[in-house]
Symmetry: C2
Subunit: 310 residues, 2 copies
């Protein structure tokens, strides 16, 4: 009788581990470091060891475990193969198969953003929608496009790369992807910091940001306190993200946008500024969409990972 | 034993009728006028009569017919209900149910563009792709978004409305949808004519278009012959459409774009100019997509309609 399942969210710095019942109750979560040396050769063995240790600690037999789900950065094929991941140094790595051999358990998974979207769909902010777009605003901007209850992959696993919609024709600096003027260059945590630093350097407007470490949180806090310079930055952020989401709506017509990732900690003020610009740019047929905050925070990935197995 | 199926494509001027074998061989096609008076009350009875007449003419019993598929303009729910169609004057019309009662045959259908996309997927230019975008360039611009072999509907049946992605922030004239600066205002047959007339009025550049009726065909013919003014218009068309398709690719990552509708008669020259601008605006991860012409022309709708039943 299978009673348990593991959900594993592999990040560039830490690996988040979740131990669930097959009903989806999170019994325990913890983190292990991502050892990236030698093309991250220890990552999968470390995960397998963490699973073995947890089962030993709890006195649970492997036969009681249904399987292991995982989320990893970058495009992942349906079969669980990573073609290329610069961050981890993986190439054509069959994660599902290798982790299966190491753990002796059925393993399956996918891209981390899509996995987090699955988590929000299963137990979080997207649970009540069949058609939704889960956006994560962190170092980058990416989305899980949910169509009729499924996260779509696209031809090459690149569906939902809405952070790479070109939104600024005047830009001269390249995005990490090689494009120029991508939404991610302005609408991510990194983008917010860059825009704020640029503005601070360009003008003399007084701002609380002049005496602080400039982070996306600091910018949103200053914005909420009415700081004029921070307001300009946040409005620009809203313009670029609102525009990208308006284009996204014209393509897939979701019921709702679920906003997650580190930047989403800014809360309702964030939702309001996104929605303001979204309504300005979207066509009338898609104007009335719901905008909600993601609910699972950093746990969306482990929930989504576990859901692959169930 | 079911041997036959009807495919019906309801347009604003004519209704295209197709009579197929269940294997998808088109045995006969013909047209009847769309009688729009009194909120198009005769349209469904006219279709039913055309079906009865065809069966009588051929000496085929209704028992041999598997059903009737239809495509109609505007958003259609999964259940075959049209919520609102200004052109036909229909509101909350349960087309599938009404046509079923009139014909005594199982009826099902959907939006005309999505139906044409199904047709191209079944027997045309999209047949070899699981993930594709079928674009129709006619009076307007719309798409059928094909994900894993299915045309997606979206929350309100409005997926694929890529003609309403805002592409021109400087525009002051409104689109038919109520938005301003939609791709459709430039990238449709109507848009091409408007752009050409505007340019002809604004400047003195010699052009063969000054002595011709300005149609999208005339503009593309002049473009192919090297006419400078037509070239400016076609490049603008390519810019706006290429941009919309680049945004679409970032959202759904298709394998290919299938280009249909009246404007697609311009052929390879059209594909080349779309692709030129697409590559300029799309992010590197989606740069290498196929662009092909639709194959079924005006028959895409009847093929797609028939495929609903099969």
């Amino acid at each position: 009788m299978k009673k348990y399942v593991f959900g594993v969210d592999v990040g560039g710095t830490t690996i988040k581990m979740g131990f669930f019942t097959v009903e989806g109750e999170l019994l325990e979560k913890w983190e292990i470091p991502t050892r990236r040396e030698n093309n991250s050769e220890n990552v999968l063995p470390d995960i397998a060891a963490a699973i073995d240790n947890k089962l030993a600690e709890k006195g649970i037999a492997k036969e009681e475990v249904s399987g292991v789900g995982f989320g990893v950065p970058g495009p992942v094929t349906k079969e669980g193969v990573i073609q290329m991941n610069a961050n981890l140094g993986w190439r054509n790595k069959h994660v599902a198969k290798e982790l299966g051999e190491l753990t002796g358990l059925p393993c399956m998974g996918g891209n981390d953003v899509k996995t987090a979207g699955l988590g929000e769909m299963w137990k979080g902010g997207a649970a009540e929608y069949d058609n939704a777009v889960f956006i994560t605003l962190g170092t980058g901007v990416a989305a899980a496009i949910i169509v009729e209850g499924k996260v779509i992959l696209g031809a090459m696993g690149a569906a939902g790369e809405i952070g790479h919609i070109k939104v600024e024709m005047e830009e001269t600096v390249a995005c990490g992807c090689g494009g120029v003027g991508c939404a991610e260059q302005y609408a991510s945590a990194t983008g917010i910091v860059k825009m704020a630093n640029k503005k601070l350097a360009e003008c003399d407007t007084p701002s609380v940001l002049r005496d602080a470490e400039v982070t996306s949180k600091a910018v949103f806090d200053a914005y909420k306190a009415g700081d004029a310079l921070a307001t300009e930055v946040v409005e620009k952020f809203g313009h670029y993200l609102g525009y990208s989401l308006a284009a996204t709506a014209a393509v897939v017509d979701p019921e709702a946008f679920i906003v997650g990732g580190g930047v989403s900690k800014a809360g309702d003020a964030l939702i309001e500024v996104i929605q303001k610009y979204y309504k300005q740019y979207v066509w009338p047929g898609c104007r009335e969409k719901k905008f909600v905050l993601a609910k699972l925070g950093n746990d969306a990935g482990i929930y989504g990972a576990a859901s692959y197995v169930l």
